[in-house]
């Protein structure tokens, strides 16, 4: 069930994130393995999104956000990357609320490829079709690729942002509550896609839905009030084999 050849993709060491006096995450240390889906569960304000933002150094555009400790991506601390844009291009992010950039559907998905230097309608069209197919959106939009991305429904826009993240051909895909604006049927379709994508990339899945973590994640971390309570095999965790009773309480919905 768990791949034994577990190269470490992300190594988090004593990570703390603060906004002024407010502590969002304190002393987090864990590893994310290559080609696994790593779930992060926990109630609101537990530091999940702050963690996601720290990985690709989004803190640099958030005034007041301070990151201490280290996150190593492929064994190299993210803050030591000189070309921040190269780092970000290798990490795909899907935000909780879909952001269709104010351009056509085609341009939305071709954006990252263009940044990488892919040129020509044919080459870009190939990228666009492949990514839209994988994000389960192609059939719905193939006849109107030139219309605005922001005209799509919430669920379609979220799949558009997933297609966009895939177009980066990322090694690491960060999904932050991707299913908030998506209907349950579409959510299931995307979940199927994520299971396939695991072959090619590492996925960090932040979710409010513990069931979603149970369905998808190989291992799961439980965040609570800025602390990483525990990290463990998802199956074991959901069978009640937890190191901390609070984890079981949360999974069973007794608080949060």
């Amino acid at each position: 069930m768990v791949s034994t050849a577990s190269e470490i993709k992300l190594s988090v060491k004593d990570l703390s994130i603060r906004y002024g006096d407010h502590v969002a995450l304190e002393g987090a240390s864990f590893d994310v393995r290559e080609n696994e889906i790593f779930g992060i569960i926990g109630p609101a304000n537990s530091g999940k999104t702050s963690f996601i933002r720290a990985i690709n150094r989004m803190d640099e555009m958030t005034p007041g956000m301070e990151v201490h400790g280290s996150i190593e991506f492929n064994g190299k601390a993210v803050e030591s990357w000189r070309n921040l844009y190269a780092l970000r291009s290798r990490i795909g992010v899907v935000f909780p609320l879909p952001v269709g950039l104010p351009m056509s559907i085609f341009e939305n998905v071709a954006f990252a490829a263009k940044l990488r230097g892919v040129k020509g309608k044919d080459a870009l069209g190939e990228v666009v079709e492949r990514c839209l197919r994988r994000a389960a959106l192609w059939d719905e939009v193939k006849d109107r690729l030139d219309s605005l991305g922001s005209l799509l429904s919430g669920g379609q826009q979220q799949r558009l942002t997933i297609a966009r993240a895939l177009s980066q051909e990322p090694e690491l895909l960060l999904l932050d509550e991707f299913s908030i604006a998506v209907d349950p049927v579409t959510t299931m379709r995307i979940e199927e896609v994520l299971k396939e994508l695991k072959q090619e990339m590492t996925i960090v899945l932040v979710t409010n839905l513990t069931q979603q973590a149970q369905r998808l994640a190989d291992r799961t971390a439980f965040f609570l009030e800025g602390q990483v309570v525990e990290v463990g095999e998802t199956k074991a965790m959901f069978k009640g084999q937890t190191k901390d009773p609070r984890t079981t309480h949360y999974i069973e919905g007794r608080f949060g």
């Binding site: 555009m61 005034p63 844009y85 935000f95 952001v99 104010p102 351009m103 940044l115």
Partner: protein
Amino acid sequence: MTSSQPNRIDDRLDAAWIWDRIARAVIFLGGISAIVFVVAIFAFVAKEGLGFIFQKLDLGFFFSSPEWRPAQEPEPEFGGLALIAGTASITGLAMLIAVPFSLGVAIYIGEFATGKVRETLKILVELLAAIPSVVWGFIGLTILNPIIIDLFDVPVGLTVLNAGIILGLMAAPIMTTIAEDALKAVPDSYREAAEAMGATRWQVIRQVVLPSASKGLVAAILLGVGRGFGETMAVLMASGHAINIPTSPFDSARALTATIAAELGDTARGSDHYKALFSLGILLFLVTFVINLLADVLVRKGASDRS
């Protein structure tokens, strides 16, 4: 009514109801007055100038001759070409300076500057916008004039170049403010989404922020053009006020507005000269109207392209 009962309002015209009526009436008068004033101004200008345009003014001559001799006896000449060329060239040069300048400042304030630098810059830009035009004219007359004479070794420094620079500097602050508002209206989530994909700051600005702010940026530029056409005092002082079709930036010129300002006091009310100046006013009015209409159409077109 005892304290334990809920505060139910009876069906009568109470103070809140009356205040609502008063507030509505005042707001309605305020809103309608804008229309009334515009119509009244146009009616006044048209009354003074329109009859002259149709009965006496040779429109062919007006648009083809640079000879503006309204006080010439016995036969005055009303050629507007030099004035139109003066206004157009000065405004054109001003926009050449103001557009890159104001967009640059707006992009810096909106996208790069943070904290105190940003706040200080915004205040300074607003202060610049508040400088009276006669002060700008004075700067053109006393500072820029000798600089141009020295720098380019020309006999006169009160030229299209001088007026264009002054007008450009005058229009830039307000254009900057409008352009910055347009940039600020672009949601941060767009920037974040693009940056998360690995786009550089410049790529984000060029490919995401500027296209989505384009409506507002066009409005800012057209506002500057309108300002350029309408500006009077600074142009009067800095342009040399010579009736002449300028062929280079080092020629003096005369603007439509400056002509009206300088000559209206010398004319007898109701005379041909007086009415001719009102015809210039009508021309200015029409040009401003067309610019505003153009801005409106562009903004609407932009809106429908994007939604």
